[in-house]
Amino acid sequence: MLKIVHMNVNGKAVELAIDDREALLDTLRNHLGLTSVKKGCEVGECGACTVLVDGEAIDSCIYLTMWAEGKHILTVEGLQSPTGELSEIQQAFVDEAAVQCGFCTPGIIMSAVEIIGTGRKYTRDELRKLISGHLCRCTGYENILNALEKVVGY
């Protein structure tokens, strides 16, 4: 059934008519064109569709859009400055060669944004745990951890 939801997506208020069976992943990609949100498994196992809902990282494939009513959603498209400069964590991913095929990249960056949001510093082992909800087949996580450490490491 079509329902109206109100959310704030990447800083902008949106009002959408959505099917109440939609996952947030579908809504962000198909209604709002936010294609950084990738579909890799549809069951919360790969982490490629990770976005922030009220500052918390979730797998948007297993989150119904109906639940996003009144919430703040953030995707990678919302990270650049208005004039296009990369955020610190995006730049760190570029500098540390943490990107290969790039398919898991936006999702991991969103988990990184949640981590940075705590304002804390982390050890490498803590960071391993904090990104353990993302599967990456290209990097062995090594340079991803280097990028994270650059921003939130001791």
Partner: protein, 295 residues
């Protein structure tokens, strides 16, 4: 897009109960990490959902006047782990639910869902068994309190009736005060796992830390439902802390579990884990309580 029959977002517990009465085929959905997956794989395809996702009273952790800790079943795993009351009084539970899946799952999955889906592998279950948790179920006929030991009736089956909503998980002061514990999840990976075996052990040590005054040990995946090992607990309680006591525990629990062989792991392998994790969890629980023991 999920193959959901009809969807209803409940505004309150009463509202949810009313809708569940109206829709006899509906499932309750809380965090979604379990129900949505079952819809996708076809097990629950086409079913209607009553969502309790946004019911605020089901979220959070509080303490009642008598020291009973009340956990809202709709509280996400990550919020449980981060909660000061949990960290101070029932840290083993906070640690246990921090072993579920990965960080994103822990941000949406709820402890109530973890318990209500009735699976033996639930990371929260063995800790809740050890803490003698009491589950509050609210239905059309009112509220009832069910000790967690009486909640599970078989794999995926619980005493919760279709129109009942779990409204609180309670842990009484006498079940946590003075206890220290350790939960060990054994999975093939270190994250994104369902437990091959889970072991939660609580001990209460004497003032001089030399004697185990009380011990409780509970398992997930060691039987069709989570289980305690009461005979072993009895035999250990009152005994001096020693390596021999750990070995005795490891052997004792083997008589009280009943793991199955599946393609994921054989019964023999799980029994090996049952014994080994008993020793390791108990040793760590003792150390966490200030005792000393060689493993």
């Amino acid at each position: 897009m999920y193959d959901i029959g009809s969807f209803y977002e409940a505004a309150s517990v009463e509202d949810a109960i009313r809708k569940l009465q109206e829709w006899p085929d509906a499932e309750i959905i809380s965090g979604g990490s379990d129900v949505l997956i079952k819809i996708r794989e076809g097990k629950l395809a086409g079913r209607s959902l009553v969502s309790i996702h946004n019911i605020a009273v089901l979220k959070g952790v509080t303490m009642e006047e008598d020291g009973t800790i009340v956990i809202g079943p709709g509280t996400s795993f990550s919020h449980i782990t981060a909660h000061p009351l949990v960290q101070q009084h029932i840290p083993m539970l906070g640690y246990a639910v921090d072993q579920v899946g990965g960080p994103q799952i822990r941000n949406i999955g709820t402890i109530g869902g973890n318990v209500c889906n009735g699976v033996t592998s639930a990371d929260s279950a063995s800790s809740l068994f050890a803490y003698n948790a009491i589950l509050e179920l609210t239905g059309p006929e009112g509220i009832r309190q069910v000790p967690i030991q009486e909640f599970y009736t078989g794999p995926g089956k619980t005493v919760r009736r279709h129109e009942e909503v779990m409204t609180a998980i309670r842990i009484r002061r006498r079940d946590y005060e003075g206890y220290t514990g350790c939960y060990i999840k054994y999975g093939k990976r270190n994250a994104m796992e369902i437990a091959t075996l889970g072991c939660a052990c609580l001990v209460k040590l004497s003032r001089d830390k030399k004697v185990v005054e009380d011990m409780r040990i509970a398992y997930g995946v060691a039987a069709p439902t989570p289980v305690r090992c009461p005979e072993t607990e009895k035999s250990v309680s009152g005994q001096a802390v020693s390596k021999a006591l750990l070995l005795q525990t490891g052997k004792g629990v083997l008589n009280e579990v009943n793991p199955r062989t599946s393609w994921r792991a054989s019964k023999e392998f799980r029994l090996q884990l049952v014994e080994e994790l008993a020793k390791r969890a108990m040793a760590q629980a003792i150390r966490n309580g200030g005792g000393e023991v060689d493993a």
